[in-house]
């Protein structure tokens, strides 16, 4: 077994028992990336020298029997929208080509302090705007389960890297499903904690009232380990919430017979792929077998979530992305014209079609005369969606539904039609509107094409522990699903 295939839990145990070294793991991981990433294109940057240097340093600490830091050299891939000191951070956009942040995001700082190693920066839809990874200005990441299909987005590079063992675990961000959707498409575990649970300082903003950092891993306990490190209050982020951080790893224990589950019927209606429905219904049988109480429920306003979400996200994006003007960092296109001309040329040539479309719509929705009809209206609808969730959570501990209405689709299938692409997020984005925690876990595969299907578990604010407990119990029941790996046979076609 190559050491990049380890889960985080196994890695930490083997390091503590001194059965392996950090250097071996980093070397195996980089070797594997070099083998597969020419095809998959998960990474925008591989942190070769620095990762090896850190590994050697940590091995020395471990050998000298000093205190082993909690992450003990664990290789972690980071979505390229999260600032890494000294490492180019592009948001997969041409406008940030060459931008080297002078500081680490708080999440990266905490990972480094805990002894984690940044193995590389992963691809995404430009500025996290997309559901397929196809809007990256640099490359399209492919789905390791079927390289004619998308890995989902926007954290598609992180999801594909985890699924194909190009890292042990990864960070993503989730504004409307950008961690959970690619987790579903790539058959891994993806968690978006409660809004305010994880600091967003140093995470380049897309839609500030929706954005949240999340984790993609090979198992439930793996993401719990990293949650323990990166969650918690940060004075540098004014939306960070000062609540105590429990031990998420200890919430991964057996037994769910004290829990009540609601199935929102709106998430099982039209547009849901039959095989996705079938597999999710099987999970529900499993939850009942395990002693959980499951009932059908309703979120009556949920059909309005999608337009409300996209209006809010685009309005906030148009404001957040106004700072990319070529003056202080990144791309500048300057010829004989004046300042205005430099702004226009830099932004128009530096930003891609999807980003421009969203900035245009957001600017329109915020402009004089339209603000009340669009932006204000959307924020009011958001209140209704939030109330729907508040109501069902009075009766149920958790909600269960599919993560995506469809299995991974083909590269090129949806990119020309923005509205069809938006619909991919229909089950995930209401969770962001309400700021709730959600997790996606692989619950099986389509029969003919063997494509992963994701189950979504949604909880009350700051009740990630219950979500992790349920996911862990399902994972214990589904050992054969977890054990299944993507077949990287496409490598045979490559002269590597």
């Amino acid at each position: 077994m190559s050491l990049n295939e380890l889960t985080v839990i196994d890695y930490l145990e083997m390091i503590r028992k001194r059965e392996i070294t950090v250097e071996q793991v980093i070397k195996d991981t980089i070797k594997h990336i070099d083998r597969v990433d020419e095809v998959l294109k998960s990474y925008l940057y591989i942190n070769r020298e620095e990762a090896l240097k850190e590994a050697k340093k940590l091995d020395k600490t471990i050998k000298n029997n000093k205190d082993i830091p909690p992450l003990a050299g664990l290789p972690i891939a980071v979505k390229d929208i999260i600032c890494t000191k000294g490492i180019e951070t592009t948001c997969a956009s041409k406008i940030l080509k060459g931008f080297i942040p002078p500081y680490d995001a708080t999440v990266v700082k905490r990972i480094k302090e805990a002894g984690g190693i940044i193995i590389g920066k992963t691809n995404l839809d430009e500025f996290a705007m997309g559901s397929s990874n196809e809007s990256s200005a640099y490359q399209v990441t492919l789905n390791p389960w079927d390289i004619t299909r998308v890995p989902g987005g926007s954290s598609g590079g992180s999801a594909a890297a985890v699924a194909a063992d190009e890292t042990l675990i990864a960070l993503g961000t989730d504004t409307g499903g950008s961690v959970r959707l690619p987790a579903s498409f790539c058959g891994v575990v993806g968690i978006k904690p409660t809004y305010g649970r994880i600091s967003r300082f140093g995470v380049i903003a897309y839609a500030s009232s929706l954005d949240q950092v999340g984790i993609l891993g090979k198992g439930v306990k793996d993401v719990a380990v990293l949650m323990n490190i990166i969650c918690g209050y940060d004075s540098l982020d004014s939306t960070s919430v000062n609540v105590s951080v429990p031990d998420f790893l200890s919430s991964c224990r057996e037994g769910i017979n004290d829990l009540k589950f609601g199935l929102p019927r709106e998430f099982f209606s039209q547009g849901l792929h039959s095989e996705v429905k079938e597999k999710v219904m099987k999970c529900i049988d499993k939850l009942c077998q395990l002693g959980g109480k499951v009932e059908e429920t309703s979120l009556p306003n949920i059909e309005y979530a999608l337009p409300a979400y996209y209006l809010i996200a685009m309005a906030e994006a148009s404001s957040n992305l106004a700072k990319f003007d070529g003056v202080q960092y990144g791309l500048r296109i300057e010829d004989s014209g004046d300042l205005e001309d430099m702004y226009l040329k830099t932004r128009s040539q530096g930003l891609g079609a999807e980003v421009i479309r969203r900035i245009m719509l957001g600017t329109y929705a915020l402009s004089s005369g339209y603000y009340d009809a669009y932006y204000l209206k959307a924020q009011k609808v958001r209140t209704l969606i939030k109330r729907d969730f508040d109501n069902v959570f009075q009766k149920y501990d958790l909600l269960i539904c599919p993560t995506s209405p469809v299995p991974p689709f083909k590269v090129g299938e949806r990119i020309a039609d923005p509205i069809t692409m938006f619909l991919t997020d229909v089950y995930t984005l209401p969770v962001n509107l309400a700021g709730l925690p959600g997790l996606s876990i692989n619950c099986g595969f389509t029969n003919r094409e063997n494509l992963p299907i994701g189950l979504q578990i949604i909880g009350r604010s700051f009740e990630e522990e219950k979500i992790l407990r349920v996911a862990y119990n399902l994972e214990q029941e589904w050992k054969e699903i977890k054990a299944k790996k993507p077949n990287l046979s496409f490598l045979k076609d490559q002269s590597l």
Partner: protein
Amino acid sequence: MSEKIITKKDVEYVAKLAKLELSEEQKEIFSQQLNDILSFFAKLKELDTEQIPPTWHLVASSEHFHEDIVQPSLPQDTVLGMTRYQENGYFRVPRIL
């Protein structure tokens, strides 16, 4: 889509507000796509929200204060070092007037 919510002229105006320069072809494509998307968003009109307050913030405890302690900021040369367009400790930009 039926009604035209946004015209090519609107697209030009919005592009100007957003500091974007669009080609004729982009203007055509965006007017079409923006119309389609806005018609889709019009669904929200079905809901009566007269008495509903907007949700601006998800975090209820927005009033937390911290001690006013001076913290070091990034050194000037680090910040200016992110661009080659700098001169005498300032960012250099093209003529403004």
